[in-house]
Assembly symmetry: C2
Homo-oligomer: 358 residues x 2
């Protein structure tokens, strides 16, 4: 994550992960989830927080989730139904579960199918927020598979290239691949120039947006550095056509097709979208695992050891800095913004649960 | 394709597709391919030329292919061997076939598996140039499936974000999806800012490159418009970190993992890479075809009908302008650069085959 998105030092409250996890589980249980569901949902948020992916951790998400449970817009005790199934595929109707509740279930089903048949592809409909695609893709990598996760949420945020009307959400995609000695590979991105939640985060920490990160309401990319305006549209990654925004747009469209048109949900901009897709590919269907690990470690090591360009300390690979952050936060605790801690404290007091976040 | 990459009007020679196809088949037969192989290879090149994808048609590719056959670096009569196979996956050793020769065979195997089991994923090793990923992905769309194709060629062209040493080629990826009444969706891109072949094309037509399209030999992105320099590195799409080049880099890395580490070829920058991967996903595993087509047509129509931003005539979707170009070129013929026609004529005379390209 770019430095400017981090919580300013003066506002940080370091919380040990066990305490953050216990408090989050308690909040989910209070919202009506069973033990297993609460543990699952808390694990997604805390794993994201440990990785430094604040945009998809407690700070940005938990409040919304709890509010949606409170309003009856999410089902805390969903009955996941398999609406259609083949050897290698399934379509799950999640019964209005939160995405972070059903997505791991879906990916585990994909993994099961891949263990038997080589690959598994599982779609989910009628679910809430995915909570970041990376966590779910990683579940496959933990089973020595390539994991892929994506979602097509909404259609009111992001413009197609040359368009002045929004057609997409942030349409995230993640791929995860295991390694033996190197930290695992985890590519986890929004197909917008910048994750929607990072814009909220930028507003909270008072950070500027970069040129071509967003467009004005007439569809023109804003080519200066600006604070977050009141009204704006997002752009596909690339930002402008010259910088290959058609590649971001094309990926968004593909994700929307697979998550929404192919699942019967219908295009995000017509229906609200929200379909999700999870793919597990068994490495051993192609090659012996040890041979894969030999190559993969050499690949990742070679990326890390790339000579850096002037002005840069080192070359990273996707997942590396988040893995390092996880090691660091295991020692220091998770640096939450004090405002988040204050909210959590008063929320807990209000609903009468006992949390300890210091 | 950006206007500046098109053949200048004064240099155009329009050739009917049948003539271009016949001449190309004859050239492949002379190189040693059997009837079926020659027809297959010509179909890839002519389909790309009809779509206006000059970078992957006769002009940029045929000469190289014929030279490689002549030098014995490609096998004109390959024996495709299935090295490993499951219900839904296969690893094919192509026996040094040209990519455009083996890739359609691989995708057809993936389609066959998907018809039986829902999905098919087929990797190819020991093959030559893929000839663009889009053609192969489209084969699945023609069978009412989602098609995906990608390749991890080499590692000496493109820098990772913040790097000063190359680690990737152009690492192309394509997804294709069918529609009922709208022209089919075909997303087909290099994961570099610009396809490698388009740089050659820019040099030939004297076009400038855009800011952040390439980097100097120290890894610094060149932020001005420049003619193609003698020496340069390519950048992942995005170009700079601020413009999300880490997303292009991450996709390249994922493609390299799936095509090279997972197939035993080994990372492109360590071994030369060249692995290829083809995925077919049966739409009917998730939803009835007619329902899919209803949604897909609405989706594509909605994209086309998006209100354009100021200064733009309309919003396209991936595959639309190439489909329109195909209709146009069916009437006018394919506009080749006269230099290409001259080369083809003298090549034909030299090897003693009869071609008619006027």
């Amino acid at each position: 994550m770019l430095e400017r998105f981090k919580v300013p030092v003066k506002d940080r409250v370091y919380v040990p992960q066990e305490k953050a996890r216990a408090a989050t589980e308690a909040a989910f249980r209070h919202a009506g989830l069973d033990e297993v569901g609460a543990r699952q949902c808390a694990d997604v948020l805390i794993t994201n927080d440990m990785r430094g992916v604040e945009s998809h951790g407690i700070s940005n998400q938990l409040r919304n989730y709890l509010r949606l449970y409170g309003e009856g817009k999410l089902n805390a005790r969903p009955d996941f139904k398999i609406a259609r199934e083949t050897d290698t595929t399934a379509l799950i109707d999640s019964d209005h579960a939160l995405g972070i509740h059903v997505a791991p279930f879906a990916m585990k089903l994909a993994i099961q199918k891949a263990k038997k048949h080589g690959t598994g592809t599982v779609a989910v409909i009628n679910a809430g927020h995915l909570g970041g695609a990376g966590y779910h893709a990683s579940l496959a990598a933990q089973e020595n598979m390539i994991g892929q996760a994506m979602a097509g949420p909404g259609g009111s945020q992001t413009l197609p290239t040359f368009g002045a009307e929004p057609r997409f959400g942030t349409h995230p995609i993640a791929w995860a691949a295991p390694a033996r000695n190197q930290p695992p590979f985890l590519f986890d991105v929004a197909t917008t120039q910048v994750a929607g939640n990072k814009i909220q985060l930028a507003r909270r920490v008072g950070a500027d947006l970069e040129p071509a990160w967003i467009a004005d309401m007439d569809g023109e990319p804003i080519l200066e550095r600006v604070p977050v305006p009141d009204k704006y549209y997002q752009l596909p990654f690339g930002g402008t056509r010259e910088n290959a925004s058609h590649k971001g747009y094309g990926m968004m469209a593909m994700i929307d097709i697979m998550c929404n048109s192919m699942t019967g949900v219908g295009a995000g901009f017509l229906t609200g979208g929200g379909g999700q897709m999870f793919v597990a590919t068994d490495i051993q269907a192609f090659i012996d695992l040890e041979e894969y690990f030999d190559w993969m470690d050499k690949f990742l090591e070679g990326l890390r050891n790339t000579k850096p360009a002037k002005g840069h300390e080192r070359v990273l690979y996707p997942g590396l800095s988040e893995w390092e952050e996880t090691q660091e936060r295991a020692k220091t605790g998770i640096p939450y913004h004090r405002e988040v801690i204050e909210w959590f404290g008063s929320y807990a007091a209000e609903i009468g649960i006992d949390v300890d976040l210091r």
